[in-house]
Assembly symmetry: C2
Homo-oligomer: 405 residues x 2
């Protein structure tokens, strides 16, 4: 009986989270519960600080029905550690972003420093909302993760992070449940919950950032693979390239495209004189980034247009194979380089569709991330919420909240 | 209540199917039911001809417990239509193959003729067991399938089959439930139920036959994709090949390897004199097949060894990308060309492991199909059984069986 009641509470919380506030009378329809069962449950949940009742909705005949909403005190913390950035958000119970902050950071500085900075950032955000005490935290990191153990596994770009107990360290610090996953997986989750993939259940999220990775959603849930490294498409060999990759092999997609590769090629184009504009910027700033290639491309620089087009072709070649294999309904392109401009997406689309079978692309959408740099934190908050719901318990005194962060 | 009882019956039938006969006392432990609940259920199911009680197993204290088994009258029909073959099996309720027959056939002869021959073959098998009346049929065909609608969708190698109502035609003929899927998907299911993938839940089955395809299992179920064509890896472009494929594009894996490509290359090697052995066999028999390449390879023919090694490299290049992407625990190689010899698997293994990330291959097995040419029919029978269990109903008079086939 207890587990039955518990799952009813979780279902009701998920229903409100995913649909917004609902009239009491409708809750029963969604959950196949009688009106009195719903009433008892809602009263118990109100006592725990999980929901509130208010307003009045016209009911089908009978008395007007009060509207049940998630408590305004429910909050989650979403953290997205990228290779070169830290993003943190506080969301409400509906996973709407209430506060968001992002900073540049180098993940290679190691877990103590990076997690410390993430917690500082979170502390600043909560300080602006004195009443806010998150009840769970989700965090994504840019490498393979053992979801079960809550730590990175042999991440190639994250020295010092291998098997570092991210979950346990944050739990000791905050005292609330912590869920850890790969950064691309949480971006895919974010787009499914609040972005362009809402309603989709079999799709891919391709992140083109410093490196290149892919979140895989099958039947509405992340596919993590046997070792937690599913979606590691940056090391698929593409074309005839012999560029040496940081992984030690040659010809990986990530060795020829992505933020790191593009910055390297921008420097080369500036030094060789192929791009006078980049050469000018290099003189001014002493260095060049992938974003400079995007700006130069927008200014009509042919060399930079060529670099972006070439990168789009490489991504498209890999994606074409994955579309034949996986037959997704949607491919979302996100990550920092998704901002390089229309040229990149146009090239990815063209090559992917050209090289896949007509049936596999007959209903395929290839689109840019809707949530942009917030996709990860929203997905991280969703993980935290799923974790909280899986343990929601009517017998308790309400959720445990974080102390001061 | 009714749906609750129904699902209990289905669970009990699945438990027996997947574990074999069990003492009554153990059934309750597996299903979290009391001894008396199990007893009532078993009596009802015995009355419907679904199970039998017999023997005596020592019980923990108390009375000896009778052993519950599936009724020996439960049978399924599994049909595997390949590009160049028809295989049919009758299985018992445990999905053990009771009778099996296989014939050469050309799927391009169209659905009426091919399905007619499959039913003739099934009729012969049942005629040898007068008591056998299958209660469900599963059938696989070598092309994309709308699983929901029970018919092929734009299959490239099957003229006349596009949208042909395979399910409805067979149901009209046999009067028992029919389930239709892609042939590679049923092979994957067969290996999961009775073969080398038993216990695995995230794996790939790569069929190298006339064409090349892949069955994808995620969390224990087939991933079919948005259009039912997931796993269509034969049209992934590989290397720099410019060989024109029957699909109209150039460089597809299937254009350079597979039964069709290998037979073509065998003819070329015979005519050019590159393989004196093949030239001799061509003179004797007037034609050459992929199997001849395997035989010549076994006899030490260098040209044929080269053809097989080259094919294994192409398959390995595609698989390496899929292993990075999907991170399976196992890759099974099956289909007619899996019999070409150790050289093919060795080459596939070597290239796949060499080109994937170390983490993705750290626990990966790459193995040959255990069930061989029976993988498909066993998987087809499993689909039929799953369909039957999903509709098992204690209120009925037992399953409807096929009339004379």
């Amino acid at each position: 009986l207890d587990s039955h009641r518990r799952s009813g509470t979780a279902k009701l919380l998920a229903l409100l989270r995913d649909n917004g506030p609902l009239p009491m009378a409708e809750l029963g329809d969604h959950l196949s519960m009688s009106r009195s069962q719903v009433g008892q449950r809602v009263v118990a949940m109100e006592g725990q600080g999980l929901v509130t009742r208010g307003g009045r909705a016209p009911s089908r005949g009978g008395r007007p029905s009060s509207i049940v909403a998630l408590s305004p005190d429910l909050h989650y913390l979403g953290v997205d550690i990228g290779a070169t950035s830290i993003a943190v958000a506080i969301t409400n119970g509906y996973l709407d972003v209430v506060e968001f902050a992002e900073e540049e950071a180098d993940v290679r500085n190691g877990p103590e420093l990076i997690l410390g900075r993430a917690m500082q950032l979170a502390g600043k955000l909560t300080a602006e909302h004195p009443g806010v005490r998150p009840i769970g935290i989700g965090i994504g990191v840019p490498g393979p993760v053992s979801f079960r153990d809550g730590h990175p596994v042999a991440p190639p770009l994250m020295p010092g992070w291998d098997a570092y107990p991210v979950r346990d360290v944050l739990f000791q610090r905050l005292g609330i449940p912590v869920t850890v996953d790969n950064d691309v997986n949480i971006m895919a989750l974010g787009e499914m919950q609040k972005g362009v993939a809402n309603g989709a259940s079999n799709f891919l999220f391709v992140k083109v950032g410093t490196g290149i990775g892919c979140g895989i959603v099958v039947r509405g849930a992340i596919h993590r693979g046997a070792n937690g490294c599913a979606g590691d498409i940056g090391h698929i060999r593409v074309g005839n390239s012999t560029t040496l990759c940081h992984c030690g092999r040659a010809g990986c997609l990530e060795a020829d495209f992505g933020g790191e590769a593009l910055a390297r090629e921008a420097m080369a184009a500036a030094r060789s004189g192929a791009s006078p504009l980049l050469a000018e910027w290099l003189r001014q700033n002493g260095t060049l980034s992938a974003a400079d290639v995007g700006r130069a491309s927008a200014a009509g620089d042919r060399t930079c247009n060529g670099l972006i087009r070439n990168g789009g072709q490489l991504v498209g070649q890999v994606l074409a194979g994955l579309v034949n294999f996986f037959n997704p309904s949607m491919v979302i392109v996100g990550g920092g380089l998704a901002n390089l401009g229309h040229l990149l997406l146009a090239e990815i689309r063209s090559v992917t569709i050209n090289r896949s079978t007509p049936l596999a692309t007959s209903e395929l959408s290839i689109v840019v991330s809707e949530l942009g740099n917030q996709a990860g934190v929203v997905g991280a908050a969703l993980m935290a919420s799923d974790r909280f719901l899986s343990q929601a318990d009517v017998a308790g005194d309400g959720p445990r909240t974080a102390g001061s962060i």
